[in-house]
Amino acid sequence: MSNYQTTVGIEVHCELKTKTKMFSNSINNYGGVANVNISEIDFALPGTLPCINEEGLRLGIKAALALNCTINKKVVFDRKNYFYPDLPKGYQITQARNPIGVNGYVEIEVDGKKKPIRIHDIHLEEDTCKSTHAEKKSYLDFNRSGVPLLEIVTEPDMKSEKEAMAYLEKLRELLLYTNVSDCKMEEGSMRCDVNVSVSQTENLGTRTETKNIGSISSVGRAILAESARQMQEIEQGNIIQEETRRFDEKQNRTILMRVKETGNDYRYFPEPDIPPYDLTEEMMEDVKRKMEVLPEERRKIYRKAGISPVNIEKIIANKPISDYLLGMEDINLVIASNLLLGEISAYLNKTGKMLGDTCLDQEKFKILVTKLDQKEINNQIFKEILVELMETDHDIEKIIDSKKVDTLSSEELIKLIETIVLANPASIEDFQQGKDRAVKFLMGQIMKETKGKANPQEANQILLAVLKKQ
């Protein structure tokens, strides 16, 4: 079995992070008690009509920009008609004719080689009900009905499972960083259908679609398994059929769900309940202005600051940290990232806190990093004051000052005491004459000099030793 080229195209559905649903105004939240976040519209009650959630539209535009798409300024919707109990209206409102974004790309890197994966289109639509199944009955929860969805469709540009996985990682990263979706595959807020074909010639082979794969690594395994199956079929002289399959994680193979009817007959037609919406320049500008700094841009900043490639990826993988570092280009980012990835992450892990829950705001953090950078404090001090920084709103300067004196070394104390003793010959004399008041007086001077922070016992011992040497 040689000379087979695997070709992969991917369709991703991700749920948008809006407060309410796409075409109704009930809350976008499911997974809890069934049928509580519902409206007349979600149940498709007779006579109800859709409305459009502005935020859903904005997130669609943002995603289109992040994926380098051309944006269709005339926003229109279509109806995709099919019957299934989880589809309340008997049609899904989607964008078949004029998707919000077309002709985009995502750049991936595999084995050091960069490659663009073309995006055919991205379009806005709505999610279906969640169903659970018993032996003879199924149960519908409409909380998910109408949740805003973005479908992202690639061209068949991926030639291996590695490229497919790299694409998905990249896509996920972009959608997370633009706050478009939380992309939790395990919870279903990001879902993945993979079209796989194999061929020994220039022409693409017949593709199959493997639906709803549960994780990015499973996508890789599913592609390997499916392309192997197809090669074997061809070797055995069989023909690959256009069909829908699913991936069985345990058996590590794809399983036939259904043979595709000749072209699904979805009877698409323009949604008459929603007149076209013309995107204004104002809105486009506003979306652009509020666009988050994309991960590639952030990588550039980190590289320029001299952060190691390993740490750069660690930061990117930890969005709260990367967000925390935004606007900190003027401080030493190497130190900053070391603190965040090291001691601070360890503290957060231990306490189960989020960075935002602590008292270490960005201003404080910048002062801290600057002081470390200028060697005003050392790593030892940082470790000692970490908890105080995290848990109190004490002034950072004060915290540091107190630690400076506290950690006055014995040598420093000896030196200070020697200076004080030598500056008071009268007291040396008194001491030598056995007068107690000399020690008392000198101790007072020491305490004054150290602002009372010296350990009296230690200071007393040192003082006596110094006096005795005179």
Binding site: T20, S26, K137, L140, D265, P275
Partner: protein, 97 residues
Amino acid sequence: MSKLTKEEVLHVSHLARIGVTEEEIENYQITLKQLLDDVDKIKDIPINHGELLVTPVEHGAILRNDSDSEMIAFEEVKKNIPATVGNFVEVPVMVNE
């Protein structure tokens, strides 16, 4: 007289989820074909591009603010649902998944 095939009628019946008896199939084979011949005449009208008038309004859609939400209680909706179990709508088991 030309007519649709039985398979074509059954395909439409399946799309529409409207059951048809043998008699109705025969009837649709003829009437749907008649209808098609009828509407086929619009092909002769020399308009082959131009705007599709989807809805006869000139204004665009207005957008809804994401922060406003309004919900209804399942207890209310439930009154009209043919079968429920607890907080769920019950249907025969879905096998297509």
